[in-house]
Amino acid sequence: MGGRSAAAAPAAIELRGISKAFGAVQANRDINLTVPRGTIHGVIGENGAGKSTLMSILYGFYKPDAGEILVGGTPVTIADSQTAIRAGIGMVFQHFKLVQNFTVLENVILGVEDGALLRPSLSKARGVLKQLAADYQLSVDPDETVENLSVGHQQRVEILKALYRQADILILDEPTGVLTPAEADHLFRILEGLKAEGKTIILITHKLREIMEITDNVSVMRRGEMVASVRTSETSPEQLAELMVGRKVLLNVDKTPARPLAPVLEVRDLTMRDAEGVERLRGISLDIRAGEILGIAGVSGNGQTQLLEILGGYPEKGARIGGSARMNGTPLPLSGAGCDAGQRRRDGIGHIPEDRQVEGLIMDFTAWENVAFGWHDAPEFNKGWLMDNDAIRRDAQAKMERFDVRPRDCHLAARNFSGGNQQKIVVAREIERNPDLLLIGQPTRGVDIGAIEFIHKQIVALRDAGKAILLVSVELDEILALSDRVAVMFDGRIMGERLPGQTTTGELGLLMAGVTETDHIPAEAGIPPEVAHVDELPRGRA
C-alpha cells in the first residue's frame, strides 16, 4: 500500500548515524534507518544486538551519543518521551511500562491528563477507550487493575496508551514474545488495520514467520550495527536468519522418531485449589516415558504453571492438592513435607522454569553462582562444610563452553547477559544434570533464532539419551516441532492427546479453547474471540 507509491513523500522516520554507548558497551554504532510512511517495518537481530536501545532512543527514553532523527522529513531533537509523544511516536516496550496497581484507565491517562483534577480526564478517557475498543477490537475493562490482567491484555493497555496519545508512528518491541498464537494473530490484524489508516509501525520480533507475514520492509541488526535493510518480499527466512546470526541456521528441528521406554512419571487425578479456593487443576492424569517428549499446549493461565510447580516440588502457599504420582515406580509426594524442590532434584527431576528472570536465575548473581542455583547441595559443588567455588566455576566455564554462552565469562552477573544467553545458562544447568525427567516451561520465550535452534537441539538430544521430558509452551510451532505426543490443557484439565504428525493447528486450537473432540460444532460458535481464528493461521512449517 502506502509505502511503495509514496517514494517521493518524506519518510515517517529517518535515523542518521545514531550511536549509543552504555559505559563500555557500544549498544548502537552509526545506525541509519529509513521507515516510509504507512508501512510496517520489521527490525530483527540477535539478543543484545541493540534493537531495543535504538527504539528507546527514537522514543526519547535514552539520549543518543551521536546522530540525527528526522520525523516526517524534519529534524527533531527528542530530548525526552514527551517530545516523542508530541512528534506522534508511541512505543510499546519489551518490558511493559505499566503501573501494576493502577486501573487501566489510570494507566492510559498517566502523563496526558487534562487539567489538575483526574475526574474529567478519566471520563474522557473512558469514552475514547470505548471508541478505540470498537474501532480496533481492543477491549479491556477500563476499571480493572492492571496486575489482574493477563499479559495479552496488559499489552492491549500499552497499545491503547499509544493510541490514546494519538501516535502516528507505533513502535512495538517484541510484542508477541508473551502472547499466545491467537493473541498474536489478533494483534497483527490490529496492526494491519492501523496501517490501512496510514499509520507507520515498527515491529521488533525474533519470529521470522511474523516478519514474513506482516512487514513491508525489514532491517537486520547485529552487534550494534545495522547490517541490512531489505524488502520483505525480496527475502526469505533463511536469508534473514543468516544475516542475523552470521551463519546458516536450521529453522526446522531435526529429529528422529521417538523410541519410548518405560514410564518415568505417572500422574493420576491431580487436583489443586489455590489459597483463594479457586480450582486450578481438575484431575490431571498423564504418563511420560523415558525417551519421549510430552508437549503441553494451551493458552497460558490454564493450569500449566501450577502443574509445573507441583511437579517441581513447590506448590504455591496455601494450596490444597489431591491425586497421586509415581516417579520411576515409587510414589512422589505432591504436597506436604516430602514435596520439596530440593528433594525433587535428588529424585532426578530437572526443571527449566517458565520465567528465567524471576525463578530461573538470580539476576544479581554471577553466572557461576547461577550454575549452582538449586544445586547448591550437590556433592560435587561442596567440600565438607564449605561450597567448592572453584569446582563450581570450573563446571560453569565448561557448561558455558558447551552451550556457547556469550560472553564466555562466568564472573559476569546474570543480568549482564542477553535474554538468549541467560536462557542458555538455565538450560545448561538443568540439562547437564542429566535428569531422568526434565520439566520445561517456555524454553525459548524472547530468545533469538540462533539460540532457539541450539536449545531445541539440546532438548532433543536429552530425549535421545533416553530421558523423559515434559514441555510446556504457548508456542504451538514449538510444541509441534519438538513433542512426540501433545496434550492440550484447558481450564485445569487435559482436553486430549494427539500425535503431532496426525493433527493440525486447527484441531489443537479447538482443544485449547475447551471444545472437546466429540463436539462437532462449527468452528466459530461458542469460542472466545481470542482463539476463534487459530485455524486461519498459516502454520506448520515443522
Partner: protein, 342 residues
C-alpha cells in the same frame, strides 16, 4: 475498603468507646492527650507517606523533625513570633530534605544511609548551633506569649460545653487545640484527595510504583520525586514546629525522642495510606496516653511495674501487627534509585 483495611480504625475507635463508657472523665483526658501526642506522629507519618509513595524511603523523619523543632524554637524566640518560627521550622526541615533529595534522587545513593546521616546531622547540628547561639547546652530559652501557638477555642464550644456527649467531644476534645493540630488533621483528607483525585497524586503514586511508566510518559521522575521529598520536608517542618512551639515552649536537645521512628512504624502499619495513617498514629497516641494515665497497673495479685507500662505501647504494637494487620507491601519502586543506564 474492606474489613481488614479498616481494622485499625475499628480497633482505635473501639478502645475510645469502651474507655469512655468505663471512665468518661479519664477517657476525655486520655483521648485529648492522644490527640496531642499523635499530631507530630501524624504529620511525620504523612510526610513519610508522600516521600515513600514517590519511591524515596525516608528514615530521616526523626532528624528533620528535630531540626525543625530547633529552627522553629530559635526563630520564634528571637522574633517572638510563632508563625515566623513555623516558617523557620519548615525551612530547617526542607534543607535536610534537599540533602536527602540530592543523595537519593540526583546521585542515586542509598536512601537508608542518607536517612541515617540526616538523623545524625540534625542531632549534632541542633546542639552545636544552639550552644553557639544561646549557650544553654543546646536548649533554647523558653518561649512565651506569641512565641508559642496557643489553644484555639472553636465557635460554639462554650455554648455546647454542657450538652451531654456532644459537649465533652466538641468542647473538650475538638476545641481548644492549637492551630497546628487542626492543620495535621486537615492534612489527612487533603492528602487523600491529592493522592487519589489529582493529576499530581496519580503521577506521584505512579513514580513510586514504576518510575519507568512515568518516564516513558514524558514526565520527569526527578522533578516528581523532589516535589514529594519537599512536601515531606514541609510536613516534618510543621511537626517539629508543633513539638517546640505548640506542645512545649522551646527546644530541648533530642526532644523528638524517637517519634520519627514511631511515625515510620505507623506508616508501615498504615500500609502507606492516609486514612489508615490517621488511625495508626491515633493508636500510638492512645497507647501512650493510656500508659501515662495508668503508670502502675494494679492487677490485684501483682502490680505491673512502671517499666512495663512504659513498654506497653510497643508490646501492643507488636501484638496488633502480628495479629491483625498482615503483610505490608511497600511501594514497589521504593528504596531504589531510578537508574536508566547501568
Amino acid at each position: 475498603m474492606n474489613i481488614r483495611e479498616s481494622l485499625i480504625a475499628i480497633l482505635v475507635l473501639g478502645i475510645c468507646v469502651v474507655w469512655a463508657l468505663a471512665d468518661g472523665a479519664a477517657a476525655q483526658q486520655g483521648i485529648g492527650s492522644a490527640l496531642r501526642l499523635m499530631t507530630p506522629l501524624l504529620l511525620a507519618c504523612l510526610a513519610g507517606l508522600y516521600s515513600e509513595r514517590a519511591g524515596v524511603f525516608d528514615i530521616g523523619l526523626e532528624g528533620k523533625m528535630l531540626m525543625a523543632a530547633f529552627t522553629a524554637a530559635s526563630v520564634a524566640y528571637i522574633t517572638g513570633s510563632a508563625w515566623l518560627g513555623l516558617a523557620a521550622g519548615i525551612g530547617g526541615s526542607l534543607a535536610l530534605s534537599l540533602i536527602h533529595g540530592l543523595a537519593s534522587i540526583t546521585f542515586m545513593g542509598n536512601q537508608l544511609i542518607s536517612g541515617v546521616a540526616i538523623n545524625f546531622l540534625a542531632s549534632g547540628l541542633t546542639v552545636l548551633i544552639g550552644q553557639n547561639a544561646f549557650g544553654l547546652g543546646g536548649r533554647t530559652p523558653a518561649l512565651t506569649g506569641d512565641g508559642r501557638f496557643g489553644p484555639i477555642t472553636l465557635p460554639g464550644a462554650e455554648a455546647l460545653r454542657d450538652v451531654p456527649l456532644l459537649g465533652p467531644i466538641y468542647s473538650g476534645l475538638i476545641s481548644g487545640q492549637t492551630i497546628l493540630v487542626y492543620v495535621a488533621f486537615a492534612m489527612v483528607p487533603i492528602t487523600w484527595w491529592v493522592l487519589y483525585r489529582t493529576r499530581f497524586g496519580l503521577r506521584l503514586r505512579a513514580v513510586g510504583e514504576n518510575p519507568a511508566s512515568v518516564d516513558t510518559a514524558g514526565i520527569s521522575v526527578t522533578r516528581l520525586r523532589y516535589t514529594a521529598v519537599a512536601i515531606a520536608g514541609v510536613l516534618c517542618g510543621i511537626a517539629g514546629a508543633y513539638l517546640a512551639t505548640g506542645l512545649s515552649a522551646g527546644f530541648v536537645k533530642e526532644m523528638t525522642a524517637g517519634r520519627g521512628f514511631i511515625a515510620l512504624a505507623a506508616l508501615i502499619f498504615a500500609k502507606w495510606r492516609p486514612w489508615q495513617a490517621l488511625f495508626a498514629t491515633f493508636l500510638f497516641g492512645l497507647l501512650e496516653a493510656i500508659a501515662n494515665l495508668y503508670p502502675n497497673l494494679d492487677l490485684g495479685v501483682v502490680v505491673v511495674p512502671s517499666m512495663f507500662m512504659n513498654a506497653l505501647p510497643y508490646i501492643l504494637t507488636v501484638i496488633i501487627l502480628a495479629g491483625f494487620v498482615g503483610r505490608a507491601i511497600p511501594p514497589r519502586a521504593g528504596g531504589e534509585p531510578y537508574v536508566k543506564e547501568r
